[in-house]
């Protein structure tokens, strides 16, 4: 497989340069080449005018190229301080940058594995900055960050630019590109197809360049809230509590509804979804499916009740080395008949899921060869093949490109229109009006606001998510 065919990319000093492209366009491969992880088959890399050969990550760093990868390059079983010592980073310098991002209270004796992901991203960023590279490459750094954390990163990037240094910024969030990037290079199928100034072409122009065709903007959902509230309640919780993370959550999910959950990072959404999907047992409170209490000892019990989860980490849900077909059919294997042979309708079920989701099956032998978007489709497709009542989606579009995202949202809408009940947590607030009927705002493990999704704006949600909005019941 050829991931990159021919790419010309030049980043000027004192510039924030966006690298854009749909899933599978070759962005990650390019970043890995520029950080010394992969070697190119041909071509040259020049830093400050002189040719460099990058044999491994250390040589890239010495050449003045530092990268913050999607998965933080920090070792989980060592402390923060040990991680810094391991790489010979300047601890004082890192501490200064952390202070700069309002993270001055990071405990250097804490184990990295005990820290939350957003913190690790910022820590990795601070370490990269402390090497004072000529070019800083940020691969999807804002994906797991809350809005305020992203702001901190932007101000650091701007400061970096003002020092005459450069940033290569890879993101799927076009709003961020418009806001902060001076120029953008767009990749499509491993070739650079455009180099533009975002302010000249606008968001739609960027999307057009990425997809190679004009896409209609997604309309906001026009939902009939009276019809939805008249529909039966399929899934509900009452006064659900767990540790100090979930403090009395009660919600009703109607048939045919997409109910959004909006929250800043760390407001108990992880734990809430763990409770709902049967991964953990609540300390108190009740979960009901079709009016019957659900007591799940494991996700298996929840799946049997028809409550299924689509997590943000695709690889957590998939069997990476197995083919698409087996991944889609995995839950079917529980049926007794499978122990002796195929489930009678396995093939049809799988095929209809593949067709419905237009999954790219070229890499059918191992799902880990699929792009992130296609992997996520396989996860959703699995539940389509199995059948379900309640679909729990936890940030299903994290790190997925615009086109695929749209397909996933259209799919969720279709499923809801067919009568499924969907609970959706997303870290991208702007997407809530595009797919949800109602939205609940979670803050400190409690639901603090409910809004009509079509009327909700990023601003109104953000205000509520900080726990300061007045309640606005739709």
């Amino acid at each position: 497989m050829v991931a990159l065919r021919s790419v010309d990319l030049s980043v000027k000093p004192g510039e924030i340069h966006a690298l854009l492209g749909a899933n599978g366009a070759g962005k990650s491969t390019l970043v890995k080449i520029l950080s010394g992880v992969y070697r190119p088959n041909a071509g040259t890399i020049r830093v400050n005018g002189s040719d460099v050969t990058l044999g491994n990550p250390a040589s890239a760093r010495n050449a003045g190229l530092a990268t913050v990868f999607q998965d933080p390059a920090l070792v989980p079983d060592l402390t923060v301080g040990e991680n810094l010592r391991l790489t010979g980073a300047d601890e004082e310098g890192v501490a200064r940058w952390l202070d700069h991002m309002s993270l001055g209270d990071v405990d250097f004796d804490a184990l990295v594995g005990d820290l939350p992901l957003p913190m690790l991203r910022l820590l990795d960023l601070a370490r990269a900055l402390s090497w004072r590279p000529s070019l800083l490459m940020l691969d999807e750094i804002t994906a797991a960050l809350t809005a305020d954390q992203a702001e901190q990163v932007f101000s650091v990037m701007e400061e970096w630019r003002d020092e005459g240094r450069s940033v290569l910024f890879i993101t799927h969030r076009l709003g961020e590109v418009m806001r902060i990037c001076d120029r953008a290079t767009v990749l499509r199928d491993g070739v650079n197809v455009a180099e533009v100034a975002p302010s000249d072409v606008g968001e739609s122009g960027l999307v057009e360049a990425m997809l190679g065709e004009v896409v209609k903007s997604v309309p906001t959902v026009s939902s009939d809230l009276t019809a939805i509230s008249a529909a039966p309640v399929v899934f509900s919780t009452s006064d659900l509590r767990s540790g100090n993370q979930v403090n009395g959550v009660s919600l009703d999910l109607h048939a045919g509804e997409v109910l959004g959950i909006a929250a800043l990072e760390g407001q108990g959404q992880d734990r809430l979804f763990a409770l709902l999907s049967g991964d953990r047992r609540p300390d108190s409170g009740q979960i009901s499916v079709n009016g019957e209490p659900m007591v799940a000892r494991s996700p298996f019990d929840a799946v049997r009740k028809g409550v299924v989860l689509v997590p943000s980490d695709r690889l957590q849900a998939l069997l990476p080395q197995r083919p698409i077909r087996e991944n889609l059919a995995a839950p079917l294997y529980n049926r007794v008949s499978r122990w002796f042979g195929l489930v009678a309708d396995e093939k049809e079920r799988v095929q209809s899921a593949v067709t419905r989701l237009s999954i790219d099956t070229r890499a059918a032998k191992q799902v880990n060869r699929l792009s992130g978007g296609n992997q996520q489709k396989v996860v959703v497709g699995r539940w389509l093949a199995t059948g379900f009542r309640v679909l729990l989606c936890f940030d299903p579009t994290r790190g997925i490109d615009v086109g695929t995202k749209q397909q996933i949202y259209e799919l969720l809408r279709e499923l809801a229109d067919d009568g499924a009940a969907i609970l959706l947590y997303t870290s991208e607030l702007a997407e809530i009006p595009l797919v949800c009927d109602r939205v609940l705002v979670l803050y400190g493990g409690e639901i603090v606001a409910e809004q009509e999704a079509a009327k909700a704006t990023e601003e109104s949600l953000l205000t509520a998510a900080h726990g300061i909005g007045e309640e606005e019941v739709a």
């Binding site: 070792v75 989980p76 079983d77 040990e82 405990d107 540790g243």
Partner: protein, 335 residues
């Protein structure tokens, strides 16, 4: 401890220390409990018994440290037992009739040779990408074979002074336990310092914990693996030298090699080293090595039949793992 800024929690964080070093501390407490229990079982417990446990457990301690270092870096070495008899055979052959000075030179050479040999094994693993367990299963046979070629029947010898360094007496038996304790503690302390306080040592933890993250943060993971095997080889050689000092002559038996290999794996598991790499300490593994050794005199003092003793050793490992699992689960529930 490095505290870079002022607003870090003041004072000693007991909870965190317990969470991080609990297993190592537990292994030492278990050891102390066993020895106290042993002392109540036999009519006279004194310097002789302490000396006996200290010196006789040494080969297993060093092999366990070797295995711990390699497993922490993400590998596993089934050949450590073979390196033990190989070093034992070489040293017994060469030291026979030599002066103390010459014996020490030979000891150093044997350690360096075994470290280089096992470093080569690590290099083969990184280059060929054949799983560690397969390559080292082969080296278990190959190196044991070399040992048998060097010393086909028990024999050879060593210098009396050399014996005293490890055992505290020129005959290998006595009541002076301090030299044995020092001979056990100094290499263990050096290994612990190297692993946790030097950059190379940290790179071994990093490589075992998450090789991709380590590689991306510019750690040379191939070098880390080779270094772990080389140092492990050195410790396995030290185990063979200790065995020579204890018995006064060499012996190559394949059963000894395979037995030590298996017990080293048991010891590190009991000592809190995760077989998946990146977690655990050489100090915990060393304590568990002494525990495993002490069980046999203890059980025989209790009048347990030696065959039953084997069963009890196995049950102990399973019990410890179960207790650890339950503690982990409860901690997760509470968190």
């Amino acid at each position: 401890m490095t505290t870079v800024r002022g607003n870090v929690r003041q004072g000693f964080d007991w909870q965190r220390a317990l969470k991080r070093h609990g297993w190592t501390a537990g292994a030492w407490l278990l050891l102390i409990a066993l020895i106290v229990f042993y002392a109540t079982l036999i009519p006279r417990f004194g310097a002789f018994q302490i000396a006996s446990i200290a010196k006789n457990s040494m080969p297993l301690i060093f092999v366990s440290i070797a295995q711990a270092i390699i497993v922490i870096a993400g590998g596993i070495d089934l050949g450590v037992g073979a390196l033990l008899i190989f070093s034992n055979a070489m040293a017994a052959r060469m030291m026979d009739g030599q002066s103390l000075g010459m014996s020490l030179v030979i000891a150093a050479l044997v350690i360096v040779a075994c470290a280089a040999l096992n470093g080569l094994v690590g290099w083969i693993i990184t280059v060929s990408r054949v799983p560690d367990i397969v390559v080292t299963l082969a080296t278990l046979f190959i190196i044991s074979g070399f040992a048998l070629i060097i010393l086909p029947s028990p024999g050879g010898g060593t210098n009396e002074g050399f014996r005293a360094i490890f055992t505290g007496s020129t005959t290998g038996t006595g009541t002076n336990f301090w030299p044995s304790l020092a001979a056990m503690a100094i290499p263990m302390g050096l290994a612990a310092y190297f692993m946790r306080r030097t950059r190379v040592g940290l790179s071994l933890y990093a490589t075992g914990s998450n090789p991709m993250a380590a590689y991306l943060s510019a750690v040379d993971t191939a070098r880390a693996k080779i270094v772990s095997y080389a140092i492990g080889g050195g410790f396995a050689a030290l185990a063979g030298l200790a065995a020579l000092a204890i018995t006064g002559s060499g012996e190559s038996r394949f059963a000894t090699a395979s037995n030590f290999t298996l017990r080293s794996v048991a010891a590190i598991v009991l000592g809190g080293v995760a077989l998946t790499g990146g977690i655990g300490s050489v100090v915990g593994a060393a304590a568990a090595g002494i525990v495993l050794f002490t069980l046999s005199p203890l059980l025989s003092a209790m009048g347990v039949d030696p065959n039953t003793a084997q069963v009890i050793q196995g049950v102990l490992i399973v019990l410890v793992m179960m207790v650890a699992g339950i503690i982990h689960l409860r901690r997760e529930r509470a968190g």
